[in-house]
Assembly symmetry: C2
Homo-oligomer: 270 residues x 2
Amino acid sequence: SARRAMAAWARAVRGLLLDISGVLYDSGGDGGVPIAGSVEAVRRIKASGLKLQFCTNETQETREKFVKKLQGMGFDISVAEVTAPAPAACRILKEHGLRPHLLVHDDLVPEFAEIDKANPNCVVIGDAAENFTYANLNEAFRILIEMEKPVLISLGRGRYYKETDGLKLDVGAYMKALEYACDVQAEVVGKPAKTFFESALAELGVPAQQAIMIGDDIVNDVGGAQRCGMRALQVRTGKYRPSDENHPHVKPDAYVNNLAEAVDILLQQL
Amino acid sequence: SARRAMAAWARAVRGLLLDISGVLYDSGGDGGVPIAGSVEAVRRIKASGLKLQFCTNETQETREKFVKKLQGMGFDISVAEVTAPAPAACRILKEHGLRPHLLVHDDLVPEFAEIDKANPNCVVIGDAAENFTYANLNEAFRILIEMEKPVLISLGRGRYYKETDGLKLDVGAYMKALEYACDVQAEVVGKPAKTFFESALAELGVPAQQAIMIGDDIVNDVGGAQRCGMRALQVRTGKYRPSDENHPHVKPDAYVNNLAEAVDILLQQL
């Protein structure tokens, strides 16, 4: 059981990184619905004195809009508590003097408001959804192929995700299309990139050995966090599938039925 | 020079496989234009008694329509002389009892008229151009991911091509997107697949050792043909780029400025 698996180390935990989609709530066309027990679980973490940071690959809207939606569901969450790919990408763009051509969702564009986008010398791709048109993909491709050394930055590398009306191709599939056409390897910003988890840990203020990641994605959440020296739990909510428990490379430190169960076990050890 | 490079073996050539786009003509929105000297070069090959077969990855229209367009430019060419991916795919579909979901150009659909497409158990992807919409890609993806063992057949694996209004992503890029999302490897029908060159050689009626391939694509034409035991020339027309001459893996048996020069040299040796 999760309780037994966590007994040896749960007492040492000082901080939590929480994935959002599939852990706090299930997304969908109507904004989504909270997962049972998660609103209360976040409140209990905060009351306990454990440190907390949210760590998401969400790129369909700005953090402001995203956080407002979650607050509307009852979650105690603020923009400063959310580590997301777009702000991380902005830091990289500024550091390297990169001017992006954006192939992203319309609602994400404001995250790049302060970035110079004239005469682009790189392409940033996010989960552009309806913006993944034939014309927009050709345009991003032409900008890349005309560079002496194409620079492609991808906000995540997910294969697909589930919405209320079915499965959708995620940014990773389109990233692969551009990588192949331009014979280039994208720099991935977001989970499972090590630097992304390291920023989240820095904002959490707890060393990797004393932090745990809780997520529904066996590769991007669990595998990525473990490669950074963290322990990681997989919840059996969101995109979790029973076949994840036979994953050839990644084994979570424990499985929990949902966030509420993970918090129950952790708080009993304090 | 090409003449010197070909001197040792040109006399042994009994048949030619010719790529079409970039060798006979340059494609474009208005139907395209013949490459200087190519109409006459095809006529001279036929008059010489050398065997001739055309070998193309064209999948934006049926062979009937494609051949009619080329005849309109003055080329002596018939449907039976053209080896193309769609008919080759139809043979595979029939042999394996596969019922395709088609993600192809509207004008290619008639090639699949006699194929059962009810309850699809595979996906066939071609250069769908404007049909590469977000909705169509998600649909093809969902059909694949719901199969116990997804079967994806790709009509070519080109990275991109050039039209009068600029570069366009080719079928290979979209093939890679679906491969990644579904964790599957596509079966490629068309150049550079060995079985495709072998069918073209069978239709040519000449063994590989006595045949040459002439094309503008260093990897799919030249590399593919050489792996089948043929000699291969690259023309400096179509998508040829000077950087092709430093390709890390593929070295043509000779470079020629265009099809007319290749034919001049070959016919002088007879």
